[in-house]
């Protein structure tokens, strides 16, 4: 498609398809990586190139992925605390060793911890205004998602303890086991198990708050480390960026 050079204006229009629209976490991180490499190579891109819609998309990706991984961790937290309090056997052993307790926590926090390390790695990939805007929006969404998850989990665990596992409800549910021809001793042991286990929901509610704080702190700390690294790189003249951003 050739055109007469005299009639065409000296402007190169950016095709619509070149606009970035992250749909998932990996896509968002790959955009950050790509632009980080550009900025390290001396490319200066203003933060305003990241449009409001794109900022919201980065935030949404951060929110969605952090909320999903947080929910998995929140669901596994009562199980992990159940292992420590010896209500749930791990590896088929009713009296857990230190290794078993550590494994239970690793399993409960593994998804969030892996995600936090993953995000920490991504949040160090900024140096200019453009990548910084991307990282800040992604982290903003992630922090928001983590806080929403923590609040929901906190309320849900309290609701389970105070409204669902009340003495009357537990007694009613356990008494139904007699219809299934369960022996009275088994019914009694299930009743005492549930009555003991329900206290774990309150411990879990506060544990989720603490683990969420750790989950948020890891990528933010990585970002601060990257901020000081960038200052050193710029001061040493290794990288040239628009000085307005610092």
């Amino acid at each position: 498609m050739s055109k007469d050079s005299n009639s065409s204006p000296d402007v190169m229009p950016v095709p619509q398809s070149n606009e970035i629209h992250p749909r998932g976490l990996l896509e968002a991180i790959s955009y950050i990586d790509q632009n980080f490499a550009n900025e390290l190579g001396g490319c200066i891109i203003k933060a305003r190139f990241l449009t409001t819609k794109q900022r919201l998309e980065f935030m949404e990706v951060g929110f969605r992925s952090s909320f999903a991984s947080g929910i998995v961790s929140a669901l596994l937290t009562p199980v992990a605390i159940g292992v420590i309090e010896q209500y749930i056997p791990m590896f088929g052993d009713p009296s857990p060793t230190f290794f078993d307790k550590f494994s239970a926590f690793l399993l409960a926090l593994g998804f969030s911890l892996g995600y936090a390390i993953f995000m920490a790695k991504a949040s160090t990939c900024f140096i200019g205004e453009y990548t910084r805007a991307m990282v800040l929006n992604l982290l903003g969404g992630m922090v928001f998602g983590a806080i929403v998850k923590a609040v929901l989990a906190f309320i849900a665990f309290h609701f389970l303890y105070f409204k669902i596992f009340t003495d009357n409800n537990v007694l009613w549910a356990v008494s139904k086991l007699y219809y299934a021809k369960t022996s009275p001793s088994t019914v009694a042991s299930i009743y005492y198990w549930v009555q003991g286990f329900k206290g774990i929901f309150l411990i879990s509610a506060y544990f989720v708050l603490v683990s969420t704080a750790v989950f948020i702190i890891i990528p933010i700390a990585a970002m601060l480390v990257a901020y000081f690294r960038n200052r050193k790189l710029i001061a040493a003249g290794v990288v040239h960026v628009d000085t307005d951003s610092f």
């Binding site: 056997p89 590896f91 088929g92 399993l107 593994g110 993953f118």
Partner: protein
């Protein structure tokens, strides 16, 4: 019929067959090997998720680790109910 040769009871008794599966599950879910598989799966999950950037495979590894960790307890519970 050749298809009947796929039936394991063609080669061994029922007790031997169920014993084989029980031994396999007991090896995988209890004691040293249970802990070994758990650690291997969790380390793989971190490696695949953080290093290889494949969160789906990492989630599958963590799910398998959860099954190895709590599977033994679930089997004990099922056994206590079924006698």
């Amino acid at each position: 019929m050749p298809i009947e040769k796929l039936n394991p009871l063609h080669y061994m008794g029922q007790a031997e067959y169920t014993g084989f599966w029980q031994k396999l599950f007991a090896t995988m879910l209890y004691g040293f090997w249970g802990r070994f598989f758990f650690v291997a799966l969790v380390v793989s999950a971190f490696w695949v998720g953080v290093r290889q950037r494949n969160p789906t495979l990492a989630a599958i590894c963590l799910l398998l680790a959860a099954i190895v960790a709590y599977g033994g307890g679930v089997m004990n519970m099922v056994r206590s109910f079924t006698g």
